[in-house]
Amino acid sequence: MSVGGIKAIVSRDASRPNVVLVSLLLATLAGWLGLDAVSVAPNRIVPGQGHAAWDVAGLPGLAISLLPMLAVLWLAWRPSRERLRLALALVVVMLAALPAWLALAAARLVDADLPQARMGVGAGAWVALFLLLLAMIELRTRLSLSRPLGWSLLLAPLVSLVAWLTFGLEPLALRQEFQGRSAGFIAAIGEHLLLVGAAVGISLVLGVCLALTMRRWERVRTLGFAVLNFLQTIPSLALFGLLLAPLAWLSAHVGWLAALGVSGIGWAPALLALVGYSLLPMVRNTYVALDEVDPGVIDAARGMGMSRAQVFRQVRLPLALPVILEGVRITTVQAIGLTAVAALIGAGGLGTFIFQGLGQAAMDLVLLGALPILVMALVADALLGALTDLLRPGGAT
């Protein structure tokens, strides 16, 4: 159902303009010219002052920055395959040049005598980044490039971003927020991954056991799905809240639980709630996967003299694995987001920065928490999706 679900990619002749690309590029141009590219503030407290793109490098600089956009527009007008390839290359170059442009803005606009001065990324640059990424997706689809190839195209912009962040973008507010708490940031990523990993691991084991039990007993199935559906409906913040009182009571009255670090707030309610939410997609996918294996295949395996256990381990499970992995993917992506909410009840993780930042109205701190969560979710989705494709019968194995 995912990206592969687009059935009708219309075959088009090259004489008609690619309307999608043209509109994306026109919007990019409008955003680049009309919105602030960066904002500069003398310190953390004062709100920044916006600077448009022509403030960064004057009119000649602006003209140079417009050239690749206009070129892509021209290429999209008569979209033959070669021209679209060239357009894709130009879009990748623009994405890779964006950090360099920010570094140029930092060098020209930020007063070097003010050590506290900081530069924020403006709406114009964000809009350009977003629309160019969309243009890249569109071009990838039109050229029907494979998924790994599409991802590897992001490599150049990423390398450029990392390089400029290390060497040229000291005044970037996001970087300054990171520098103030680099140890805490690494620790938060660790906590986040640990909670997600633990929740997914536990729910995978529990989910497979539960699905197997459900296959045996009809009653368990009806009841189990009813309970899990019910749990999934309860909003995360409410579930964390409802777990607070019983867990606080338990830790006050049961000595060894308190010694383990269980309490009304912290990792214990977070992990419990995460496992509760993760169970539904996990159980549903495992159940459906095991159930949908072709009975003919099972019969054939039995006919070959395999024992029940052998059939399960050597036939049913391998055939069901891709769908089970799909469940792991859904669960992982969901858990990454929910763990961010768990920061509200003191479970740590990257959500801490989001809620600290919102509390102090420090938007760059919010970004420091939200952007890695976003990246984590996208990477987990891509990796587990690729793994599922690999394990699918007739896949690349």
């Binding site: 990619i9 569109e138 913040l237 979710a377």
Partner: protein
Amino acid sequence: MTEAASDVAVRGARRWLTPLLWGGLLLGACLGMQHLEGLFRLVETDSRSVIYARADFLTLLGRHLLVVGVAALAAVVIGVGAAVAVTRRAGRDFLPLVAQLASIGQTFPPVAVLALAVPVLGFGTLPIIVALLLYGLLPIVRNTLAGLQGIDPGVREAARGMGMTSGQLLRQVELPLAAPVILAGIRTSVTINIATAAIGATVGASNLGDPIISGIVNGNTAYVLQGALLIGLLALTVDSVFARLQPAASTG
């Protein structure tokens, strides 16, 4: 005749029993929370006040419903509209991009979207509505596309053969056939948005998330429980309404 009608009415009432029950519980909890003071006193022994009093629970419920309702309504109009537009001849060029965007966008955690909306749009109720709207669009677009693309081409041809115009085809054939899948998308969207709106209490929207946040900040478990109870009941009420609507749409 009258007997049959009343029979249908009774069956109809029974179908709506679960939503009515949850809704009644929700309203009762909003109005009668003060009378449960003794119960909350057991949980929170050392605080002076055990009933959240900064705002009336009914007001908080109303604001929560307003934010989610406005966002959902706009998301349905825009989402279904966009999905219909890209499946028409004129908008076909945009189909691959919109389909990919709806599928990639759903990987974004709702909290991250909410957090990213604040720097752009500011604090308060409006930014939350916009964030909920944007995020709520994705499941609706995705399901509407799936519903429209899942229609047997033969059905379309038959309708055209009967002399239907494109507008009639859309209104009388395509949308009704896709309705169950679209409704499932709206249900997902609203469920996520009720939860995300509650987190919106941290960015200055006053709603049912407020008692939870203020309870966590002040260490008052009773407040947290009250907020959690009401949000849970709200989610269950709305979900049961959708659960009732869905089979009705698929058979009708």
